[in-house]
């Protein structure tokens, strides 16, 4: 499904990723761990083509991600720390926009139903600038549920969630694993990594080691 | 009609002075970088 080969990225000549390679087959879930600043987020953003990298090749569904057409990334979804949405727009408008950008027909009732499911039904029409960190995290979950993706790059799903937020996230993740979806997550605590990850990779000093 | 010897001299001094100056600056920079570099390697 995804094969990342010898990615290297440096900021002001300090190399953050020296030579990162790993492969991820369909239906598998990979958890990437590492200290802060090890380059986990950089790696995910490079795969999502948000960030450029100096060297390296990435094949997604064995098509070259760097030189290929943009439409290759239709089934690749990246969810980062920030919700990547417009503060001025409301939750519904943001989701409609995000889905249209991915060539998905977005009907309002389906969106509203997902928002209700994740406990955001009441604030659906308020601009997301007033959302709390936990609500933003649920908005991301709703977004992930609505888009049909084959590979999800999820950056630290559990930050800023209260009790039932964590429960919601657990339910969603286990359900996706049951459905056989492939995911690549960045996590921090070990037993969650063991619970979800078929393969756990440890990123330190710019190189990827499997634990 | 006085000839413009002064202007001619000024222009040539500026142009060739700048070019020679540039070479000197490059040489000094190269010197500094290489010495700096040699220092780290020999450590």
């Amino acid at each position: 499904m995804l094969s990342v080969s010898n990615i290297s990225k440096s900021f002001n000549y300090r190399s953050v990723l020296k030579d990162v390679s790993f492969t991820l087959n369909a239906g598998e879930t990979v958890v990437i761990m590492g200290k802060n600043g090890a380059g986990k987020t950089t790696l995910l953003r490079i795969i999502a083509r948000i960030m450029a990298c100096e060297k390296g090749k990435i094949l997604f569904q064995n098509q070259n991600l760097f030189d290929g057409e943009p439409s290759i990334r239709k089934k690749l979804l990246y969810i980062g720390h920030a919700p990547a949405m417009y503060t001025a727009l409301s939750a519904i408008e943001n989701l409609t926009l995000a889905l249209n950008l991915r060539y998905i027909k977005a009907n309002a009732s389906k969106i509203l139903d997902r928002l209700n499911h994740f406990g955001l039904g009441m604030q659906a029409n308020d601009p997301i600038s007033i959302y709390s960190q936990g609500m933003l995290q649920r908005l991301k979950l709703a977004y992930a549920e609505l888009t049909d993706w084959d590979l999800l790059l999820f950056d630290e799903p559990f930050t800023g969630l209260d009790q039932d937020g964590v429960a919601l996230m657990d339910k969603a993740l286990t359900q996706w694993i049951k459905e056989g979806k492939t995911m690549c997550m960045v996590l921090h605590n070990m037993e969650r990594a063991k619970q979800y990850g078929d393969q756990i990779l440890y990123l330190n000093h710019g190189v990827m080691e499997s634990l | 009609m006085y000839n413009f010897w002064g202007y001619f001299l000024a222009v040539y001094l500026i142009v060739f002075g700048a070019i020679v100056g540039w070479f000197i600056i490059q040489f000094r920079m190269e010197n500094r970088y290489l010495n700096d570099n040699r220092y780290t390697q020999s450590e």
Partner: protein, 223 residues
């Protein structure tokens, strides 16, 4: 990494160019005819016009380096672009200094809004922005991409600037480049010779600057 002039061919080139330059100056001072009303001032453009030519050639190379950097993604092209931008700006500022010096006796005041000088000035301002962007653009890797795209945008703008300025500022008759084609061989031959020598000098300067950037990059990257 060793000194640029350690390897034999660069040293030979340096000696050759010094010789050519001295010959060039001697040739201009002695052999070129003295134009009646301008006397020595007319000899300024044996240096002024070649510097402008080298400056524009250099900005063209920045564009080519930018395009190649995007196609190949190879680090080397960014160094070529940076070196060419720096040397180009050096020559263009020489043109902007010598231009008014030449204009004071001939046209009466130092700065005249005429097409060529104005185009050179606007290009100079664009490259001030280019170097500011290289300083404040963000981390080095991103700045390389921005610099390459700015190099392309700047040169694409040159013809547009030249045409708009050509109609905006009235043409002054006694402009060196305009006169060039209608010159007697006595003036034309030394001029073309000087042009060639300046281009050869530029080639050596470019190679030298790329080498110095390479040495600096090696030092920074290893640390």
């Amino acid at each position: 990494m060793q000194f640029f002039f350690h390897n034999k061919s660069n040293r030979v080139w340096l000696v050759l160019i010094i010789g050519l330059m001295l010959f060039n100056i001697w040739n201009i001072v002695v052999n070129t005819p003295m134009v009646p009303d301008q006397h020595w001032a007319q000899k300024i453009f044996y240096v002024h016009v070649p510097s402008a030519w080298v400056g524009f050639l250099s900005y063209f190379i920045v564009m080519v380096a930018g395009i190649m950097y995007f196609i190949k993604g190879d680090e080397h092209w960014d160094k070529v672009g940076l070196a060419a931008a720096e040397i180009g700006t050096l020559f263009i500022s020489l043109v902007l200094i010598t231009g008014p010096i030449w204009a004071t006796p001939i046209w009466g005041q130092p700065w005249i809004w005429e097409p060529r000088l104005t185009t050179t000035l606007i290009l100079f301002l664009i490259y001030i922005g280019y170097f500011m962007m290289r300083a404040f653009g963000g981390h080095a890797e991103r700045v390389k991409r921005y610099a390459a795209s700015l190099g392309i945008i700047a040169f694409v703008d040159v013809p547009i600037i030249f045409v708009s300025v050509k109609f905006w500022a009235p043409e002054i008759q006694s402009h060196p480049q305009v006169e060039m084609t209608s010159q007697p061989p006595g003036i034309l031959i030394p001029f073309l010779l000087s042009l060639g020598i300046f281009t050869v000098l530029y080639r050596l300067m470019l190679k030298y600057r790329i080498h110095v950037i390479q040495v600096n990059y090696k030092r920074v990257a290893d640390v």
